[in-house]
């Protein structure tokens, strides 16, 4: 069982590529219902770390459990219990809204009835009634992203991994998106956000900052800003990354 209500438990996790430690002995915990920001510059190792957590890459050493499942042996169970959304790939542009929902519901093993039910709920909540039969490609970017996030929640996962979810989105839509995230977290879903956009970091309950494969800082945005005597997470990041 999960100890202390931690849905992600990472201890000294490392990933080596030859001599190069892409991820170097990182340790952290994420609590249920938390919005956890996982930050780092390009190449700091955050993608590698996330791949281990979502069960598509095997660690070199260390321990980690996600939703109570071991990242070495129980990757299939992990995959069933997490949702994933990235800015690069989220939905099929050439399928309609309805078809996307049905498809993703299907691959997570939802029954026809469940899918039907979820679809109604989701379409209503996002106000997509008019466009259920439109191709996703025709939707504005902001709508796509909100839809993609909802789709990643279809199977009611314990944890959702978001990879740079709101880059380039207009400010209002971005806020609507974060309101959705808050709501999901409020309902008990854990949110794990990897990003190098510092304004996304500001919204998280806690953030970790990776530099060269190691976690250099981990705390609430507020405490980090106090500690580094800056006004924004951006400046915290700059201080850390510039050493």
């Amino acid at each position: 069982m999960m100890k202390d209500n931690n849905v992600i438990q990472v201890e000294n996790l490392s990933k080596l590529f030859g001599d190069f430690a892409a991820v170097n002995q990182i340790s952290f915990q994420v609590k249920a219902g938390e919005i956890f920001g996982f930050l780092g510059a390009n190449g700091a190792g955050k993608t590698t770390a996330m791949k281990m957590l979502i069960g598509i890459s095997s660690p070199t050493s260390g321990k980690a459990t996600v939703a109570g499942f071991d990242v070495y042996k129980e990757t299939e169970s992990i995959k069933k219990n997490i949702g994933y959304m990235s800015q690069k790939f989220a939905l099929y542009d050439d399928l309609t809204v309805k078809e996307n929902i049905t498809f993703f519901g299907g691959i997570y093993g939802l029954s026809k009835k469940q899918i039907e039910h979820k679809r109604r709920e989701l379409v209503e909540e996002l106000g997509l009634q008019e466009v259920t039969n439109s191709l996703v490609a025709s939707l504005p970017l902001g709508w796509k992203q909100k839809l993609a996030f909802s789709v990643s929640l279809l199977h009611e996962p314990k944890i959702v991994f978001l990879d740079e979810p709101t880059g380039g989105v207009d400010p209002i839509t971005r806020r609507q998106f974060w309101e959705m995230i808050y709501k999901a977290a409020h309902n008990g879903t854990t949110i794990f956000v990897t990003t190098h956009y510092m304004d996304e970091a500001e919204y998280c309950d806690r953030v970790s900052i990776m530099v060269d494969g190691k976690i250099e800082a981990l705390d609430t945005p507020k405490k980090l800003k106090e500690h580094y005597k800056t006004d924004t997470m951006n400046d915290v990041f700059l201080k850390l990354a510039r050493g």
Partner: protein
């Protein structure tokens, strides 16, 4: 010698990318075009760099008409399209060399202009561009756009996908280039970068929302703005959304940015209301609006 844009419109089929855009960029100015993806920034850049023809309106770049004098423009501007267009299979040095040659110049001839930037990637000059990090690609792309000493520099989302450290360095480089007399038009979806420009145009859905200096734009914010924080962000947003006096609320990191319909605001009753919703640790403080606040106010 700057840029003039008057009444430019452009549609793709049914979609209007730009509708009746007009503004000027003064010679030597660092001008920012700020707006989200899909606002029409790239379309405007392509019209100004003679890659697209506008449906309506006129524009000049460095004194040349974008339609009739397109050849002169192509000789005198530097252009860095979004997603750093480099030859991935060519090394850093080969890329720069190639762009120098096609503009009929050489690296040596204009080295002083790109030196500041190029020295940072010179240690990797034999590395293929495809193997560079985002920040290094960005610097190389900028070097390539500068190598022929352009009078006007067009940078389309140069900082997208680049980490904060590289972004900061990049803006420092732009400031230095501006001192050398180059007119720079830069677009970005990041509101926080707007403050670094001399003047900015806020753009959304093909319309210019406002054009001014960053300070002036912020000072146009119509209402007093408050930072509110409590123990629970989700309930706070829910509560304020249902509050009768709320004019606008937007989550802003650990705070909510709040404006009130009343003038002046009644802080005590707001606090009482929030407490009645079961919230604790309530803090309500006045704060300075940002460009993002103004953008959202204008875009509403």
């Amino acid at each position: 010698m700057g840029i003039t844009i008057s009444n430019i419109s452009k549609s793709y089929g049914e979609i209007t990318a730009l509708s009746d855009i007009s503004f000027d960029v003064k010679p030597g100015e660092l001008f920012g075009l700020i707006g989200p993806d899909g606002a029409g920034k790239t379309t405007l850049f392509r019209i100004l760099t003679t890659l697209l023809i506008a449906d309506n309106g006129q524009a000049t770049v460095a004194g040349y008409d974008v339609l009739n004098d397109y050849k002169s423009i192509r000789n005198s501007v530097g252009y860095m399209p979004g997603r750093f267009s480099l030859y991935q299979d060519l090394t850093v040095e080969e890329n720069l060399n190639f762009f120098a040659t096609i503009f009929g110049t050489s690296i040596e001839e204009n080295y002083d202009l790109v030196k500041d930037i190029y020295v940072q990637i010179e240690p990797f000059k034999n590395r293929r561009a495809g193997k560079l990090s985002g920040g290094m690609k960005q610097k190389l792309a900028l070097s390539c756009a500068l190598i022929h000493k352009p009078k006007v520099l067009f940078l389309d989302e140069p900082t997208t996908g680049v980490d904060p450290v590289s972004r900061k360095e990049f803006w420092e480089m732009l400031k230095r280039l501006q001192k050398k007399g180059i007119t720079i038009l830069v677009s970005t979806p990041y509101m926080d970068e707007a403050a670094l420009c001399d003047r900015i145009a806020l753009i959304q859905d093909g319309n210019i929302l406002e054009i001014d200096t960053p300070n002036a734009i912020v000072s146009h914010f119509p209402k007093p703005l408050y930072n509110i924080s409590t123990n629970n962000m989700y309930s706070l947003i829910e509560s304020l959304t249902n509050y009768e006096h709320t004019y606008s609320i937007f989550p802003f990191g650990e705070f909510v940015h709040y404006t009130d319909k009343r003038d002046p605001i009644d802080k005590a009753s707001l606090k009482t209301y929030l407490e009645s919703q079961g919230l604790t640790d309530i803090k309500i403080e006045k704060t300075q609006p940002t460009i993002e606040d103004t953008f959202m106010e204008l875009a509403k």
